[in-house]
């Protein structure tokens, strides 16, 4: 479903109606004052009746109080409305982000924060002002026209004509200016891009002495912004003087007509004074339209940024119903995968994992190890070939069940703020204490944690108070705590010293002897005891076998081995 801002307006239409009604009352009360003013002049003053003047004053106060109440209530509902809309957009946006496929999430977290907070607010408050202007101006104009229509048709026509002219002018100006506003927006983005590139490539630019050229490139855009802005403003600035002039001239005409009638004794002075008041109200309402020029572009920019995220389409997910059983055999048949069309990230991957297998994967940086694991987790959906689990295509399995049965220790250091204990139990809240202690020993957490007092170890956000090796160990413990059929350790030993990392791996293999374990490592010593080691190179499998076999048959493996043998 595509994201549309109007959806949030539609969902809250009842609040909008309610607010509109309340605003009608407010406006009605406001416009009642000039009416009474007219009565004071026409009856009170003309008849020199002070009593009457006071009485009318009392009525005026009643209306003011009604108006006040309606105004406050409308403020109440407006606050609900605006906060509800932003709450809902935030909810939907966050939902979208969390449910997005991991490899589609390329926006930085700071940018996402801005979108979720500042942009949502910008859209919401802007939307709110736009609604208010669009509702208020016509209401005031309508009421004023009706009031005048009741007493004098000629004047009412004149007012209606001037309202039509004003609306016409506003529409024309908007039509002329809006595309240009968009153009400025594009130009500004371009300007930002040029300066971003300028700073990013500053070393290259200086090395090639191209400072003048890049400044010129910047200034070409800068100049077009200046010219477009000048054009926009030439038109936009017309709005306020034109509307003021039209209203003022209409007032003059109305007074002229009124005067003629007053001379003929068919019209009252007070009514004329009231009309002048109405005109002032209509003027303010229409002048608010010029605010739209400022708000609409702002809203549309913020909205665009929200839309960008909302409209990312998740990859098509083939979701089946099969559940994983206890004995698992996984088979990769000619599996290929690419992130984009330009490059194949996995090429013709063929291998088999039997139940209880312990697999090692080794290869240089960016050789496709993590990409390969991601295909099993269905984070990456393969582009060609087949992954079979117990002879059934992986797509036939229920993705949630599949992931429930895999426990992953990712390459990235992910630590939650809380305690050591809360981190370990993150995916298994029911973990028993003796099991927890056992896991801590396996992952050698006991080298820096007193297991008897494990509750008191606080962990800061991102594990800032832990060393790299400690973070890795904690991540291993968390992975072991989850009950699963398949355990994957992606580069989990990289910051741990050789001796301890080997011990940890031995422990893991022993502990998980009836599970499938996949260990990715850059170190031969970590994996050389495993029966099956996959050597990856450039997105391809170079060779599979045990340590001795690979030393003989894989040049790459031998190279790595030689470099690490000291």
């Amino acid at each position: 479903m595509k994201y549309k801002l109007t959806k949030y307006i539609k969902n809250n239409i009842k609040y909008i109606t309610l607010i509109t009604i309340l605003l009608l009352i407010v406006t009605y009360c406001d416009l009642k004052l000039p009416d009474y003013m007219a009565k004071i002049i026409d009856i009170g003053i003309v008849n020199k009746d002070l009593e009457y003047i006071y009485k009318i004053g009392g009525y005026m106060i009643i209306y003011v109080l009604i108006g006040l109440c309606a105004n406050i209530i409308s403020g109440y509902f407006s606050s609900i409305l605006s906060n509800k809309i932003s709450h809902d957009i935030r909810y939907d946006l966050y939902n979208k982000v969390i449910n997005l496929d991991n490899n589609l999430l390329t926006t930085s977290s700071s940018s996402l924060i801005n979108r979720l907070t500042i942009d949502v607010n910008e859209v919401n408050s802007g939307l709110f002002i736009i609604l208010r202007i669009i509702i208020m101006a016509p209401i005031i104009a309508l009421f004023a026209s009706i009031k005048i229509l009741n007493t004098n048709k000629k004047m009412a026509y004149i007012l209606l004509i001037s309202i039509l002219i004003m609306s016409f002018i506003i529409i024309i100006l908007f039509k002329k200016v809006l595309p240009k506003l968009k153009k400025v927006k594009i130009l500004l983005d371009k300007l930002n891009l040029v300066s971003k590139e300028n700073i990013k490539g500053i070393k290259t630019i200086k090395a090639f002495n191209k400072q003048k050229e890049i400044i010129n490139k910047f200034n070409i855009t800068n100049k077009s912004i200046l010219n477009t802005n000048n054009y926009i403003n030439k038109i936009m600035l017309l709005l306020s003087p034109l509307i003021t002039l039209i209203i003022n001239l209409t007032t003059v005409i109305i007074i002229y007509i009124a005067s003629k009638e007053i001379i003929n004794d068919s019209f009252n002075v007070g009514t004329m004074v009231a009309y002048i008041e109405y005109m002032m109200q209509v003027l303010t309402a229409f002048l608010m339209f010029s605010l739209l020029f400022v708000i609409i572009p702002k809203v549309s920019v913020a909205n665009k940024r929200i839309k960008e995220i909302m409209n990312i389409d998740n990859n098509k997910e083939n979701n089946g119903k099969l559940k994983l059983s206890n004995n698992i055999v996984i088979e990769y048949k000619n599996v290929c995968f690419s992130y984009d069309k330009h490059k194949q990230d996995l090429k013709n991957i063929n291998f088999k994992i039997n139940n209880n297998d312990k697999i090692g994967i080794i290869g240089s940086f960016a050789s496709g190890k993590t990409t390969l694991l991601n295909t099993l987790l269905k984070i990456n959906n393969i582009t060609d070939g087949k992954i079979l689990i117990n002879n059934k295509d992986i797509d036939e399995y229920d993705i949630k069940n599949l992931r429930k049965n895999i426990s992953l220790s990712p390459q990235e250091n992910i630590i939650f703020s809380g305690t050591i204990k809360s981190n370990i139990k993150y995916y298994n809240k029911n973990l028993k204490n003796d099991e927890l202690i056992k896991i801590c020993k396996i992952s050698k957490l006991d080298t820096f944690v007193d297991l008897n007092n494990i509750d008191k170890y606080k962990v800061e956000y991102e594990g800032k108070n832990l060393s790299g090796g400690e973070i890795k160990r904690l991540s291993i413990a968390r992975t072991l705590a989850k009950k699963a059929q398949i355990y994957i350790f992606d580069d989990s030993t990289s910051s741990i010293d050789y001796k301890n990392s080997n011990k940890i791996i031995d422990n893991i293999i022993k502990y998980l002897n009836d599970k499938i374990v996949i260990i990715v490592s850059q170190r031969i010593s970590n994996i050389k005891k495993l029966d099956k080691i996959i050597v990856m190179d450039n997105g391809k499998i170079d060779c599979i076998g045990n340590h001795e076999y690979l030393l003989k048959n894989s040049k790459i493996y031998k190279q790595i081995y030689d470099s690490q043998k000291i």
Binding site: D30, L33, I40, I45, V46, D49, I53, Y54, V64, G75, Y76, S78, S79, I80, N83, H87, Y91, Y94, I98, L100, N102, I113, L116, L191, N192, S195, E197, G201, I202, K203, T204, I205, K206, N209, K210, I214, F218, L226, N229, N233, P241, T244, L245, N248, L249, I255, S259, I262, V269, V273, H342, K343, I379, K400, R403, I406, E412, I414, Y427, I566
Partner: protein, 571 residues
């Protein structure tokens, strides 16, 4: 403070005549604006006289004359308003143009050191937000400050001239209104503070969810995570609702006070007219004055925050514009560099704390190819940075062809170097334009290269590289970066080899091209590839900023432990 405002004045100064004209017109505008209700009142008075005193021979001509005068005033004020705002707007647009231009110039004249310490996002927001902020707020100040002040005073005078009592009543209500508003704002402030806390909570929730996004996905924790977020979101809703509601009361209060003064004026005015102290037209004018009075006082009171915001932005920009530029004392402009390079006792530190280059001594002979090897952070790249005068502040001497590089003009020096950086830089433009790199002409050298290497098989010249540079592989980016260097004239080559993995076909081409770049030239290679290291005339081994070994591969592998270790790790 004065310094920053002076800076702003420098930008405004060229337009002082325009601003004087605008100010004069503003004065005329204000006078007309203030006087017009009073003129209109004359007509009303005449009409009421007719009604009450029953003048029978009232001349419509009198009224028409007044109305014509009013209409003329209205037309005139509208014209002045438009012309004034147009002039001011032009000034402000030009001002932002100039500010942007100066910032862009500054970006290119700052030393590289500045960019080590500052994020580009911050600099870009100067160009965007701060410049916009200055121009739009300044526009408001310049176009309405003078007329607002004059109107404010003028209206007050007119009000008092009509009725002292009514004026005093109106003015008394203002502090009452202020008082209520302060109480409300005080109340709201509390919620705003809570809101800030909730938002920062939300920020950290988002950050932690984004970093653990993969774990959330593979552990089926999406719903739980969204629930956590929803708690914060609900809090934000509740708090936001309260703070918005309290601040929404301000508007009704303001209009209540306005309406009350309207009613009081109506009653007191009516009373005064009955008692023959006032005329009806005066009440009508007075009511108009109150409305304008409210508008102008509102605008004037918002002026201080507008000024503050301009000041804050000016200060931001000023901090940037006053950074010290890259300095160049070199006046010597050699036509050609022979390529004898010498480092004498060079020490260097990026942050004035830790030396990254320590007692560096080396002589490189013209025409030789040397490879620098060492672990990350050992100072390899720094050597090239110093040589190209990207950084100064080193001690010791660096000589090229016997001349201290401090005495050689920076631009000339850099133009004699052909450099290929480790991180290839590409722009949102076509591949061809990226190769020609901000030159308008196509280099004919490219055709020669094309014939030699059949480049069209490897790279599509017309491909438009997108903003994120993700429709082009790293290998292709490297090819572009090497081309960019080859098509220029240069005497010395600095080559910082990239470490990223690329496919073997591209790798092969890059190898060929790098050999081409180095042909017959003095070359310094910050090496990562075994083949480059082996082909070098000699190798400099660096460790923690020091030179720990010089020699050929075969010699070093046996005699130098550091080199042996690096060699073993790199394969």
């Amino acid at each position: 403070m004065m310094k920053d405002l002076k800076k702003l004045l420098v930008y405004i100064k060229p337009y002082k005549i325009s601003i004087i004209i605008v100010s004069l017109m503003s004065i005329i505008y204000s006078c007309l604006f203030v006087i017009s209700p009073k003129i209109l009142a004359l007509a009303t008075n005449r009409l009421v006289d007719k009604k009450i005193i029953k003048i029978t021979n009232l001349d419509i001509k009198y009224i028409v004359n007044i109305l014509i005068i009013c209409a003329l005033i209205y037309i005139l004020t509208s014209i002045i308003e438009y012309v004034n705002s147009l002039i001011i707007n032009r000034i402000c647009n030009k001002l932002s143009y100039n500010l942007r231009k100066d910032i862009s110039k500054k970006i290119n004249s700052l030393p590289l050191k500045y960019y080590d310490q500052n994020e580009y996002g911050e600099i870009i927001s100067r160009i965007g937000e701060d410049v916009d902020n200055i121009s739009s707020n300044l526009e408001q100040i310049l176009s309405s400050m003078i007329s607002d002040i004059i109107c404010f005073i003028g209206i007050l005078i007119m009000m008092f001239s009509i009725s002292k009592i009514m004026s005093i009543i109106t003015l008394i209500l203002i502090p009452v209104q202020m008082f209520i508003m302060i109480i409300i704002m005080f109340k709201t402030q509390k919620y705003f503070n809570v809101k800030k806390d909730i938002i920062s909570n939300m920020d950290s929730k988002i950050i932690s969810s984004i970093t653990s996004h993969k774990l959330i996905e593979v552990n089926n924790k999406q719903e739980e995570d969204i629930k956590d977020f929803e708690k914060i979101n609900d809090n934000l809703y509740n708090c936001g609702f309260k703070s918005d509601f309290y601040s929404s009361i301000i508007l009704p209060i303001v209009s209540l006070v306005n309406n009350l003064s309207y009613i009081i004026i109506s009653i007191v005015g009516g009373y005064s007219v009955v008692k023959n102290r006032l005329k009806v037209g005066d009440i009508q004018a007075f009511l108009q004055y109150i409305q304008s009075f409210n508008n102008t006082s509102e605008e004037l009171s918002s002026m201080s925050s507008t000024l503050q915001s301009v000041y804050a932005s000016i200060k931001h920009i000023n901090i940037f514009l006053e950074q010290v530029d890259e300095v160049d004392y070199g006046i010597y402009k050699p036509k050609k560099l022979i390529g004898n390079i010498e480092f004498k006792n060079v020490y260097f530190s990026y942050d004035n704390k830790k030396n990254v280059i320590k007692n560096f001594n080396v002589k490189i002979k013209s025409g030789s190819k040397i490879a620098i090897v060492g672990e990350t952070g050992c100072g390899k790249t720094t050597i090239s940075n110093l040589l190209m005068k990207f950084y100064d502040g080193y001690t010791g001497e660096i000589l090229i062809d016997g001349k201290d590089i401090k005495d050689i003009s920076t631009d000339t020096l850099r133009s004699k170097f052909g450099i290929v950086l480790q991180n290839s830089f590409v722009m949102n433009d076509t591949v061809l334009n990226n190769i020609n790199f901000l030159n308008n002409k196509n280099s004919n050298k490219l055709d020669i290269l094309e014939k030699e290497f059949n480049l069209k098989d490897y790279i599509n010249y017309d491909l438009l590289i997108n903003e994120d540079n993700d429709n082009i592989s790293l290998g292709e980016q490297q090819i572009i970066s090497i081309f960019r260097t080859i098509i220029n004239e240069y005497d010395i080559v600095i080559l910082d080899e990239a470490t990223s993995n690329i496919d073997s076909r591209t790798e092969e081409l890059i190898q060929k091209l790098t050999n081409k770049v180095m042909e017959d030239k003095t070359s310094i290679i910050i090496a990562h590839r075994l083949s480059t290291i082996k082909n070098a005339d000699y190798i400099l081994v660096m460790d923690k900023g020091k030179l720990v070994g010089v020699g050929k591969h075969d010699e070093l592998i046996n005699s130098n432990n550091k080199y042996k270790k690096i060699y073993e790790n790199s394969i």
